[in-house]
Symmetry: C2
Subunit: 232 residues, 2 copies
């Protein structure tokens, strides 16, 4: 029986460019009397990763912020008043091209990591080396959705995990083929971890324990190809 | 520190119209040596709820299925070939107006409950009475998303929970107002529970323990109003 345990990694200090984030995360786990185990998935909000990578820009005025959103957008999907839904260079479609002014000093904004999979891979390698385990890592951001109110966390970078869990070729309990069933497990894990992280609490990471998932997926494979996209 | 535990409710037999689903769920929990505790959130796939409510229809041919999708749709949002993205009478936007042919006998389809909040409320009341606890209940379905591949579970009916968790008026750790931050916690919980339920395993329910959420929300409040909807 699969049973999940999800616990936050607390006590991470404000992260600065060049900090050893992997060590901070491992120390945070240890400070709670826990150890990372093989199979654990470490989920981290991109904000601390972006800060560690120096992806912070000054936005002295609203006009500068607006221009930054335009610059970060590879494609504008919808625009209404000040609201811009845009596709980033990574392929993510979200508000303001993911340029974020929360959880950063006033007058600054945080950009996404340039290559979130590489960021995840680097963190995974360092944490695996420090702990002698085999891990998964998910870097998250908080996105709105069409049609439904409210924000949810999703995966924007992964390492050691499948991009989707493909049930093709399996059958349900009634023998029906599940021929088009791909589960976005990494997004479900990102959402689950957010439940213990929160937007206002300064907890930037969590551990999800109990899943047996491994793989070598790329976040790019979670992006719907343009020819399948009915909402361009 | 918030820590979550999520465990599946196993051993639920194939549900038939009129079955006492609340008792089946409580018995499933007890069979695992667990008891429901106040604050637990019981997450249930709508399929067993719909079966219990007799929301199963015969679809002898593909044409009958196609017509059923049209009939269930309150509004067609997009159409390409056989793929129909439609809004249901409840307001949910999803593939095939949520008419589902998996996890049901071949030649049949499952419809959504007519009033999923009421279904959730009834189950909650019965389970609370049986266990002397105060619970939350979420009924889920599995939806695709624009722009991102893969399916995730979302809430389609709730009881004893807030529709969104509103962080308005709170600040992040840098003192920035979180003035438009509403978290769709019930969708994050639905996604989290799916990680232990799965599409192919016949596990229709799970318990999420460790959150302190209560409220009196309606799923209708999670639907984005048309005037805010940029993807109609």
């Amino acid at each position: 029986m699969t049973e999940l345990r999800i616990f936050p990694i607390v006590g991470i200090p404000e992260v600065r460019p060049g900090d050893d984030l992997a060590s901070l995360l491992c120390a945070g786990v240890a400070d709670q009397g826990e150890v990372l185990l093989t199979g654990d998935i470490v989920v981290i909000t991109h904000k601390v990763v972006s800060k560690q990578e120096g992806r912070i820009v000054s936005i002295p005025t609203e006009a500068v912020y607006r221009q930054l959103v335009e610059d970060e957008a590879a494609r504008i999907v919808r625009r209404r008043g000040d609201l811009v839904i845009a596709q980033t260079r990574h392929g993510f479609v979200c508000a303001n091209a993911a340029v974020d002014r929360s959880n950063v000093e006033a007058g600054s904004a945080i950009l996404l990591p340039i290559d979130p999979d590489r960021s995840a891979h680097r963190l995974r390698t360092l944490m695996e080396r420090a702990t002698g385990t085999s891990l998964g890592v998910i870097i998250t951001d908080t996105f709105g959705r069409p049609w439904r109110r409210g924000l949810v966390d999703v995966a924007i970078g992964i390492s050691g995990l499948p991009s989707v869990v493909d049930l093709k070729g399996t059958t349900d309990t009634h023998g029906n083929d599940l021929h088009v069933t791909e589960v976005a497990a990494v997004d479900e894990i990102a959402a689950a971890a957010d439940l213990v992280m929160g937007k206002a609490t300064g907890v930037p990471a969590a551990v999800v324990r109990g899943l047996s998932l491994s793989g070598n997926g790329r976040i790019a494979d979670l992006i719907r190809p343009p020819e399948e996209d009915l909402f361009r």
